[in-house]
Amino acid sequence: MTTNYIGLPISRVDGPAKVTGRAKYAGEYNLPNLAYGVVVSSAIAKGRITKIVTNEALRLDGVIQIFTHENAPPTSPLDESYHDESAPPGSPFRPLHDDRIMFSGQPVALVVAETFELARYAASLVRVEYQAEPHQTDLTAKRGQAREPKPREFIEKPKSRGDVAKALAKSTAQIDVEYTAPAEHHNPMEPFATTVVWEETGKITVYDKTQGAQNNQRYICKVFELPESDVRVLSPFVGGAFGSGLRPQYQSFLAVMAAVGLKRSVRVSLTRQQMFTFGHRPQTIQRIALGATADGTLKSLTHEAVAETSKFEDYSEPVVNWSGELYRCKNVKVSHKVVPLDVYTPLDMRAPGAAWGLFALESAMDELAHELHVDPLELRLKNYAEKDLNTGKRFSSKALRECYQQSAERFGWSKRVPEPGSMREGDSFVGWGLATGVWDSWQMPASAKAVLTADGKLTVSSATADIGTGTYTIMTQIAAETLGLPLADVKFELGDSALPASPVEGGSFTAASIGSAVKAVCEKVRKKVLNRARKTKNSPLVDAKVNEVTFANGRVALHTDPSRGVSITDAMKQGKAGNIQEEVVATPNESRQSRYIRHSHSAIFAEVKVDEDLGIIEVPRIVAAIAGGRILNPKTARSQIIGGIVWGIGMALEEESVIDQKFGRFMNHNLAEYHVPVNADVRDIDVLFVEERDSVVNPLGVKGLGELGIVGTAAAIANAVFHATGQRIRTLPITLDKLLISSAARRELQKPAA
């Protein structure tokens, strides 16, 4: 038996619960006397509700109540109460607050009935009359009104340096292009749902879909003016979120409102269509101008982004921030501006900012390489940044060069024929493209509790979440290894507002933040176990200090002579001391960390096949080399990266929330018309983890992998499409109609003049 688990491909500890259907998600707690709430959504994008006719629905036997802005129980009058931990600056949306409609699909009523079927039918009988006002949902039409967003926590204002115009004018090769990206929706498989269990005492237990149980608990307490002791939020399983659970969504508000108002347990589940009525990745227009000398030395880099936000909050994300750091270039101009539209506030979605920004930057680098007749990989290596020129700081670690080399070798990049359209296979053009990825390696303050019982079983806990990321599994590994216990004797609990404080599960910082807390709390437990081990009869450890012993294989023993030790269960039986319980808050070493730039990196190589006649694009293979610090579990880590890459395929070729400007509404609000990759769209994905040691990022040396996989993938695919066809599609997603139109236009241009 060995209890060294960190770095091993351990299968998910929550796997058996998930493959048998035992894992319960927020909308699956069936309780006696549960009432069902169904949301009625606004049919207009802007205006006022003039009348809501509910009597037809209320007449149905079994319809309990219909909440609208006219009868909703009062909630906190303070704007600040609605501001959750992940909210951008502004005035958050309040469901059923007044008669104003601010976005299409806004909840305007909640129908509560004895059964789900009845609530749904009754909701169809609610008639809402509006006084519509002209709405503005078209970013392109309003881009002239772009302005600086209000500063947002954790997002640095982009920094410019040098003189880009002068440098561009002196450059031998120049490109100046614009890329357009549509709105996208997270679409986790589990629709948002909340089940509120109401008790006679007035206490509520809220099973909620969230990436932060405590974030939702605080929100509910502030909004409904309830003491924290009366509200417990639980989210042990979350059916995907990808950022959509960073903020409490409106079903959470409505379910609590109904439960408290009706004094009974209530569930509110959103439909797939309603999953398009809150938060999305914002449509974004980017301009990139690059200038370089003939040998490929980058001289001038301009990256300007204009994105949508709502009229009530200033959402912004780091789209352009990476461009001043990724390459060595003296003259950089970056800016990010927003245009307020009549939409719901955009919402962080897997690699917010970087997903769009790196698509544009890495596409532009490919365009520059083509212009210069330089290999795209050579161009990146030529301008490789050893330090961040914005701040002059070094990287805490940066194995990007190794990523490029190992990924290129595995992919076979040296066999690439540079000329677009020159590689073929049957009726298809073959294209090879590459791109770089980068993401933050944050550590946030977080706490954890550990309880070791007399029988040697350990329970460690923190309020964090596992949205499919593997939190349960890696925390169990860290705890088991630190205390030298078998995995089966260790349990990790999460997703409960009553557990030790944790930030929301996002930003790829959970492994680093919660992992550091778990390690620290288990190290504290070690000291107490050693104290007890010293006191066992004839203890060989009587004089041993904590740095002289190893905890492994269920024993605490001397480094120098592992045969001399005490089993942990024997130590725990010592005296009548009972359980050992410890709790810690692990805070980042900010003074040390702030001296470095701390990022993860990747190099993504993609192959596409484009059917010559039909324009159908396939992605037969992708190779991704990842510099993500220490890998705690190569099995779940690989899955994280594969998942991100699948999102990159969707972003490049499929995903687009199409807005009908006439109605100001997303019209493809379902999974048949909003295309996400399906099994047949995904072929070989080869993930390499490049060795990277980093003692600065956090005590574990991990960098987080949830977001990195998507960053750069769409650019690698777009670059491969260009290499296959010679056509540069700068508007995502790259669908076959755009390719065919583009090729038809090209043929038209190439016709000899009549």
């Binding site: 493959v19 259907g21 149905l60 009868n71 498989m189 995907g240 009706l262 099995k635 990759p677 099994n679």
Partner: protein, 181 residues
């Protein structure tokens, strides 16, 4: 309930109520045992399983037959349970994820899903597994490409597809070996 209710402006909630159509009694044979339930004529099989029989392993992802999260086996064939009315399945044999395993043990497909990490959030997983069991029974899939095509009715937003294909291949080949030792 004698609890005070918030008043609905302009509507007398005590006014004569309108009754809904009578519920219909049906018998579904679910995971080997007979279940008698009274359902509305328009109750879909998925809601009957989740809300009436507390079999929440079968998931609702779209309610429109677009995502496959609700896949169950009806008389051995995989179907989207959100696209069929419960009363249409009166008398049929239904297998949900809760009934896939062999007694206390895991079905080889469930085991393979764990080994290959063929899921992340787990929400599409019961549907994927039921679909895979149905697929293997159909006997049409031979290659990885066949599996990809024939599993494309089951969306996995976490993007575990390569691992799903590997897991199904393992279970499929194990079954073939057992059939032709």
């Amino acid at each position: 309930s004698d609890q005070p209710m918030p008043t609905q402006k302009g509507v007398d909630v005590n006014k004569e109520t309108q009754s809904m159509p009578t519920r219909t009694g049906i018998t579904l044979r679910v995971n080997g045992s007979d279940k008698h339930i009274d359902v509305e004529p328009w109750t879909i099989l998925l809601d009957a399983l989740r809300e009436y029989l507390d079999l929440t392993g079968t998931k609702k992802g779209c309610d429109h037959g677009q995502c496959g999260a609700c896949t169950v086996l009806v008389d051995g064939k995989r179907i989207n349970s959100c696209m069929t009315l419960a009363i249409m399945k009166d008398g049929t044999e239904i297998t949900t994820i809760e009934g896939i395993g062999n007694g206390n043990g895991l079905h080889p497909v469930q085991q393979a899903f764990i080994e290959h990490d063929a899921f992340q959030c787990g929400y599409c997983t019961p549907g994927q597994i039921c679909s895979a069991v149905g697929l293997i029974k159909e006997g049409r899939a031979r290659t990885a490409d066949d599996i990809r095509e024939l599993m494309s009715g089951n969306i996995c937003r976490c993007g575990a597809y390569p691992n799903i294909v590997a897991a199904i291949q393992q279970a499929m080949h194990a079954q073939e070996r057992n059939a032709n030792p």
